[in-house]
């Protein structure tokens, strides 16, 4: 055990020593992003990088998230609807708070999605707030745990990835992969981000709710 600790400490020391002595970067990425920002369709550089310049990475990331959810569904025990449906203790104060907070969270999620074009925000933050709202509802006892997903939930889970993939395929047919035409880039990004938000919210919520089943 001591050997591992010493090795980790030595590794950290070596890394820190190298970090303090790095030369300046060869490529000036912030300047490159700023130069192309006006063609990207959004005004916020991080959103532009995420959805336009490096949109391919985001597409693959949604795919990875969906894969993780599929494996979670495959590994979790196939519980049938439990006889005692209230798995979580019912607390009136928590339910009242949830009833007040969740509509506000939905509003915040829509705002974050819309604001991502101009200021910090975007699909990931909005999806995370949606997932948090779903988890809050579940913990307050207002949303039952999820079991085998039915058609509507499956459509919602896969929808974001499919919309993004369809946009990528359509653009591939026109030329390069995910090269948005500058005139339509803003609208296209908004459509993709909306689908991503719904999908992301459902997937992140599903990672919690499909997992939170009581093992016998």
């Amino acid at each position: 055990m001591k050997a591992v600790v010493l090795a980790a400490a030595a590794f950290a020391a070596l890394l820190v020593a190298v970090m303090l002595d790095l030369p300046a970067a060869a490529v000036d990425l912030p300047a490159a992003v700023a130069a192309n920002l006006s063609h990207s369709g959004v005004a916020h550089p991080v959103t532009a990088v995420l959805l336009n310049f490096r949109g391919y990475d985001t597409l693959l990331e949604i795919g990875v998230l969906l894969l993780a959810l599929l494996v979670v569904l495959a590994v979790s025990p196939h519980a049938e609807e439990p006889a005692g449906a209230a798995r979580v203790s019912v607390e009136p104060v928590l339910q009242a708070i949830a009833r007040i907070a969740v509509p506000l969270m939905l509003l915040a999620a829509v705002y974050l999605l819309w604001a991502g074009a101009h200021r910090p925000g975007g699909a990931f933050q909005a999806g995370a707030v949606l997932a948090a709202a779903a988890v809050l509802l579940h913990l307050a006892g207002l949303l039952p745990g999820w079991h085998a997903p039915k058609l509507l939930l499956r459509a919602g889970l896969a929808g974001g990835f499919l919309v993004f993939l369809a946009a990528a395929a359509a653009l591939l047919a026109r030329g390069a992969l995910l090269a948005y035409p500058p005139a339509a880039a803003g609208a296209l990004i908004l459509v993709i981000e909306s689908a991503l938000t719904v999908s992301l919210g459902l997937t992140l919520a599903g990672l919690f709710l499909f997992l939170s089943r009581d093992e016998a």
């Binding site: 991080v46 959103t47 798995r87 979580v88 203790s89 974050l112 910090p120 925000g121 975007g122 990931f124 933050q125 995370a128 707030v129 997932a131 948090a132 988890v135 913990l139 992140l204 990672l207 919690f208 997992l211 939170s212 009581d214």
Partner: protein, 85 residues
């Protein structure tokens, strides 16, 4: 050493301390709580690094959802402790 740098050093020290305590504490429930604290300190670090998008995502996903997943795994969210440390 100006105020910003002092705050950064303090925040980095708090990050490392909470991470160390989360790994070393014998009680698993305290470890998860310390991990959530670590996640919120990371949110502050992202704010100091001029990365508000990451700060939002870290608070919601890194601290919030991961913390909820871990708390659910140790059983405290169902009102009983399933796992001894």
């Amino acid at each position: 050493m100006n105020t910003g740098l002092a705050f950064d050093l303090l925040l980095a020290a708090a990050l490392l301390w909470s991470a160390w305590r989360a790994l070393a504490t014998p009680d698993i429930f305290r470890a998860v709580i310390l991990f959530i604290v670590f996640g919120l300190l990371m949110t502050l670090a992202w704010a100091r690094l001029d990365a508000p998008d990451i700060a939002l995502a870290e608070a919601a996903i890194g601290a919030g959802l991961t913390g909820a997943l871990l708390l659910d795994a140790i059983g405290v969210l169902r009102g009983r402790r399933q796992e001894k440390p």
